[in-house]
Each structure stands twice: as C-alpha cells, then as structure tokens.
C-alpha cells in the first residue's frame, strides 16, 4: 500500500497511509474509533475507492482489479452482517453460493464451518436468536466459506464478552497456522498484543508500525511505574509537576507514570516531600496502551 488517502469532502479520513503485510501473519490496525481503520480496510477490500494512492493485495490492484480481488479474500464487517431472518445454515449457504463454492463439496464445507464455529446443533436457529459471541463465529464462518488466503476482519470482537473473545483468538491462530493471513482492525489495545505486527492509527494517520515488542522498546523511552499512595488525586497533581515523568495517569486507585530519566527513589521522595505517604512503587510491564498514549501525547485521564 502506498500513500492511500481517502477524503470525504473536507474530512480527510485516511491520510497518506503506506504499509506492507507479510503472508501468514496476523496484522492488527489499532486505533480509537474514527481514526480511519475501517476506511482503510474497506479500501483494501476494493469496496471503497481511495481518493489517491494505490495498493496491491494478493497481486491485485485494489482499484482496477477489485472484482477479481474479491474472489480471493474474506471480509467480516463491523456489524457482523448476518441475515437475521435466515438460519445459521442458510446464511452459510448463501455466502457459499456467493463465492461459488462448488456444489459437490458444499455440504461438507458448511458442516466443517459449523463445527469450527461450535454451532453444531444450532444450524436451524435464526441468526437473530444468536448471542454476540455466536454471531461473531458465524460471521467468521461466512467470511471464510471459500477458504481465502487473506481475511479482513473489521473490529471482529466488538461487543463480545471476554471469554468469547479469547476463544475467537484461538480460532484465528488456528487459521493462521494453516497459512492464512489475517488483517484486522481493533480498538482493543490488549488484544492487539496477540498480533504479529501492529499498526497504530490516529486521526487518519499511521503513526507507527512494528511488532508489539519493538513498538514498546522504541516508543517507551523509560520505565513504567505503578505507584500506590494515600492520596492518589493529589499525588497525581504533584507528579505532573515533576520533570522527567510523563503520562501521569490514574488507573483505579494507583498512579501510573512513564519515568524517563527519573528513578523510583526520586519519585518516592517527591511524593513524601508533599506529605503523601507512599505504599509501593513497582515497575510495570509496558502495554500497547502506553505506547499509544506516548505516541499521541494526549495523556488524558481515565482512558483505558
């Protein structure tokens, strides 16, 4: 992909995004709502025309050869687009037909997918009656019915309970194990940790792109500390004044800071000087959330 841009009138949804995705990896596009992730993924699928720039997916140009491209990719849209008044089986059968899955292997394929999704026995249930987790798995099945080499998943775990989310990731890795490449978007920072590589989107721009570990190393110049003390509110105010500390945020009752050139002892001292008792200062494993905050330099409170 090179210099993909999408404008809606005055609104530039995607600014000059360029990147490459390797075969067989799980690539996650991470960012808050409205950062341009869904717009980008739609351009990659050939259903949205970029205002400028070009891209190639599986060797097909996304603008000129969009229709051929669609035969070889699978897409799961943000709203789990399923036909509510069709049953589980009927939904799968429709998409199988849409992708011209040969009639001879059709039944077997659908049975496989139903098993993979864990929906055996629920085949005749109307999609409307499935809960979020089941719908997600059915939608994945529909996207995968023709065994594409590349899967595009747009916010696949949105609104799904944590247990279902975990088993979903098991499914994903089961697929990539067989050589399928997965390109997904998500705003769940903790999930993005599972991906092979992560691209961070903010306000339509691609801010960073690498493996999670590399991102943390590169963009977190310092040590993450978690501090518990008597008066978190006031402690936060104090620490914000302290040079060398950034991203001072409250997390529950603890304060989290990114200590750049300051060691824990100095932090303790600063707090005690202001009459705040310190219970503990412990190093924290950095998360992608910290990377994201650092990149966007917003450092606001109460974001999780």
């Amino acid at each position: 992909m090179e210099h993909l841009t999408k404008r809606y009138g005055d609104l530039v949804a995607v600014k000059d995004v360029s990147f490459e995705v390797q075969r067989g990896e799980v690539f996650a596009f991470l960012g808050p709502n409205g950062s341009g992730k869904s717009t980008t993924i739609r351009m990659l699928c050939g259903i949205l025309e970029p205002t400028s720039g070009h891209g190639e997916v599986l060797g097909f140009d996304i603008v000129q050869e969009a229709e051929q491209l669609k035969q070889h990719i699978g897409y799961m849209s943000q709203r789990f687009a399923l036909y509510e008044d069709l049953t589980v089986r009927e939904n799968l059968e429709f998409y199988a037909g849409a992708y011209q899955v040969p009639a001879s292997g059709l039944k077997r394929r659908i049975d496989e997918l139903i098993a993979m999704a864990g929906l055996s026995g629920r085949e005749r249930q109307l999609a409307a009656h499935l809960s979020g987790g089941w719908k997600q798995r059915l939608a994945l099945g529909c996207a995968f019915v023709h065994q594409p080499q590349l899967l595009f998943l747009d916010e696949p775990t949105a609104g799904v309970d944590p247990a279902s989310r975990r088993s979903f990731w098991d499914l994903i890795f089961g697929l990539t194990g067989t050589g399928v490449t997965v390109f997904m978007t998500t705003h769940y920072l903790d999930e993005a940790e599972h991906a092979n590589r992560v691209g961070m989107m903010h306000n339509g721009e691609l801010r960073a792109l690498s493996t999670p570990a590399d991102l943390k190393a590169r963009y977190l110049p310092g040590q993450m500390l978690a501090i518990t003390c008597d008066d978190p509110l006031r402690g936060r105010a104090v620490l914000r004044q302290l040079p060398g500390l950034s991203q001072v945020t409250l997390y529950g009752k603890a304060i989290q800071v990114l200590a750049r050139r300051v060691d824990p002892a100095s932090v303790r001292a600063a707090l005690q000087q202001n009459g705040i008792g310190v219970e503990s200062i412990a190093p924290m494993a950095p998360t992608l959330e910290d990377v994201f905050l650092s990149l966007t330099s917003e450092g606001t409170d109460d974001m999780h």
């Binding site: 739609r42 699928c45 050939g46 259903i47 949205l48 025309e49 229709e67 669609k70 035969q71 990719i73 897409y75 849209s77 943000q78 709203r79 687009a81 399923l82 036909y83 509510e84 998409y95 849409a98 992708y99 011209q100 529909c142 509110l233 006031r234």
Partner: protein, 406 residues
C-alpha cells in the same frame, strides 16, 4: 481537597421544590413543562434534519392541489371524434359543424371506411364516431326524420355519458333549427324531432363504471408494488448493514439487481392475477381479449417499474425515504395517466406530462385488452413505448447501481 463541595450545602431539596402534593403525584395528567419542552424541541430537530421528508411533507399537498385542481375536473370536453359523413350535403356538414362548435368534440375528417372509423375507437384515437347516412340531407329536405348514429366508447362511462348527453342536446338544437327553417312556421313541431340521434355504446353498454375503474387501478397498483418492493429490498440491506457484506463478495451488481428483481416480478404477476380474478368475480370485469397478450405486455412495464425502484434504492438511505420517493412517482401518474380522469380533458401541459408516464400507455393496453378485446395490431405503438421505457430504465439502473460503499 479540590473539587467536590460536600453534599448538603446549598442543596436542600425540600426547600428548592414545592413538596409534591399527594394528588399531583398520583395524577397521571401531571405534566412537567420542561420535560415536555425537551421532547418538543427534539422532535423539531428530527423533522428539520430529515430534509427529504420535510420536502415531501411540504410539497406533497401543493402538488396534490395542483393536480386535483387542474386534472381532477370531471368536465368532459374536446373528445376526439370522427365524422363519417356519407351524405355530404350542406345540411350534413352544418350538422357536423354544430358538434365541432359546441366545444365538446374535436372533429377529425375521415376518408376511410366506416369500419376503419370504428377501429379508431378500438385503438383509442377517437372516442366518438358520428355516422351520417347518405339520405340525411334528402330526408331533412323532405321534412322527414333523418337518423344519425353516434357511436361512443363505453369504456369510460363518464365520458360516454357526457358524449351522449352533449350529442343529444346538439342534435335537438339542430333538429329544431332544421324544422323551424324548413316549415317556415314559428311553432315547435311537437312530437317527432327532425333529427333522430341513435346512440350505440361500445364495450360497456350498461355503462358500468367498475369496468372502467378496475383495470385502471390494476394498472396503477402493479407498478407501484413492483417499484416499492424492489426499492425496499435494496434499502433494507443498507439499513441492516448487510449491503456492505454483499458488496465485498464477488457477486456482480448485475447479478444482485436481477436477483432482487426476479422474485418481485413473480410476486407482481401473482398479485396481478389475483386482482384480475377479483375483478372478474366481484365486479364482473373479465378479459375480453387475449389474457396471454396482457400478461406478455405487462412484463416490460413491470421490469421498467423495477428499474425505477432500483434507482430509488440508490438514492434512499432508509426504507421510509424509499417509500416516499415511490409515492412521488405514483401520485402524479394517478392524475395524468387517465386512471380516473379522461386525458382529453386535461390542460395541454398535463397531457404532455402524461405522455411521459409509462402508466398512460399501460392503461391503454390493459383497457384495450380487457374491455375492448383488441390485439397487438391496435396496441403496437403502446407496446413499443413500454418496451423502450423498460430497457431505458433498466439500463439506467445498471449504470447507477454500483458496488461501492460511498
């Protein structure tokens, strides 16, 4: 500790609000003006933001008023009429002229045979044929009763009746003149009129109005349904979010269009068949001509309407919007296509508008086949028109129906 004022200062509920009386709390008619205002304000915002609905609500009554006012008059005049004058005397020409001058009839001269003249009624190019026998002039000159036949298209009872009564008046008037002039006596010749106008009503001798209205209604509801169902089928997918998923599959826009249209075509035919059965059983309106031809000619009409439906679906975001747009098409056609009001009586502007609506031609076809029993020979211009229309609409729809989420 910055931030929160301790609760309890300044906020003494009992003093800020009057204590609710037992009756007002229990009384379900109790209203809070601020709550009410919040709802009213929100509703106004909804209304004003939905430009399409707003436009429709404001313009629709105006449009209806215009149409009703200009088109919806039941006066009948300027009926295309043919004079088949076998007498060709001064007297017969004067008689014919009287019809022209009345304003009710627009006379066309005729050079063909009597049967060809009657065929004009079949084809719909004339509503009335005046047949003046060869002995008209002679009989008048001799003071005997001359008969003239007035053949009237009975498929529209209103028009037929108007034609008959107008014709009758004119004939009486002419008759009195002829008598007065001939005998030279200033007295009325009581009893036998000088000119006897014999009526012949074609197709609908009993002037049963159902015979006229029913095919008209069928011709109007079928396209409306076709248009609406097709539009809704697509817009529903957009509303549900499944359109995006469809667009990403290899399904081509042509396949999508045809796939959406075909079941609705079947449905349209079933509904038309039901209407025809009801028309037959309850109103006694059967199909005088070829049912097969009727169904065949319905196909381009239905397909064209569905093309319009697809175009509507491209322009609509929600189902109610699609419904409104379909109504915008149907409402004028009710007035200018001749469903209820004869087209000849419309002001010229509206007649031209009516020429643009395919419903006009379809109505001529359906009435032609059901009431007059005519075939393709009489109806081929309308058939051609419909076929052109349907191909045009479908081509336009294919052009505009793109597989993009934009």
């Amino acid at each position: 500790m910055g931030g929160h004022p301790p609760l309890g200062t300044g906020l003494r509920l009992a003093e800020s609000y009057p204590p609710p009386s037992a009756s007002s709390v229990a009384n379900r008619w109790h209203m809070s003006w601020s709550r009410l205002f919040a709802v009213i304000r929100k509703e106004f915002i909804h209304l004003l933001r939905d430009r399409r609905t707003l436009g429709f609500v404001l313009l629709a009554p105006v449009m209806e008023l215009l149409l009703f006012g200009y088109a919806g008059n039941t006066d009948v005049d300027h009926l295309p009429a043919i004079v088949y004058d076998e007498s060709r005397t001064a007297a017969s020409r004067a008689f014919a002229a009287a019809f022209q001058n009345s304003g009710y009839f627009d006379l066309q001269p005729w050079a063909g045979t009597r049967n060809q003249a009657l065929q004009a009624i079949d084809e719909g190019s004339a509503r009335v044929v005046l047949v003046i026998p060869p002995d008209f002039g002679d009989k008048l000159a001799k003071g005997e009763t001359a008969t003239v036949q007035i053949v009237v298209d009975g498929s529209n009872p209103n028009v037929a009746q108007a034609a008959l009564s107008a014709g009758g008046l004119i004939a009486q008037d002419q008759s009195a003149k002829a008598l007065g002039g001939d005998t030279g006596q200033g007295s009325q010749n009581g009893g036998r009129p000088g000119i006897d106008l014999r009526p012949l009503v074609l197709y609908n001798p009993t002037l049963n109005s159902a015979i006229f209205i029913v095919p008209g209604l069928v011709g109007m509801f079928v396209p409306f349904q076709a248009m609406l169902l097709t539009a809704l089928a697509v817009v529903r997918e957009r509303e549900r979010g499944t359109l995006e998923q469809l667009v990403v599959t290899p399904i081509t826009s042509l396949e999508l269009m045809i796939g959406k249209v075909l079941p609705n075509v079947l449905l349209a035919f079933v509904s038309m068949a039901l209407s025809l059965i009801v028309a037959r059983l309850l109103f006694g309106v059967g199909v005088a001509g070829s049912l097969l031809l009727l169904l065949l000619l319905t196909i381009p009409f239905v397909l064209g309407s569905m093309g319009i439906g697809l175009l509507i679906s491209v322009a609509s975001r929600t189902q109610p919007q699609a419904q409104q747009m379909a109504q915008v098409f149907i409402l004028p056609s009710f007035f200018v296509s001749g469903v209820l009001f004869p087209r000849e009586s419309l002001p010229l502007v509206l007649q031209i508008v009516g020429d643009l609506f395919p419903t006009t031609y379809f109505l001529e076809i359906i009435r032609g086949i059901m009431l007059k029993g005519v075939g393709l020979t009489a109806l081929w211009p309308q058939a051609m028109g419909l076929t052109v229309f349907s191909f045009g609409m479908l081509a336009l729809a294919v052009n505009r129906f793109r597989k993009r989420i934009d």
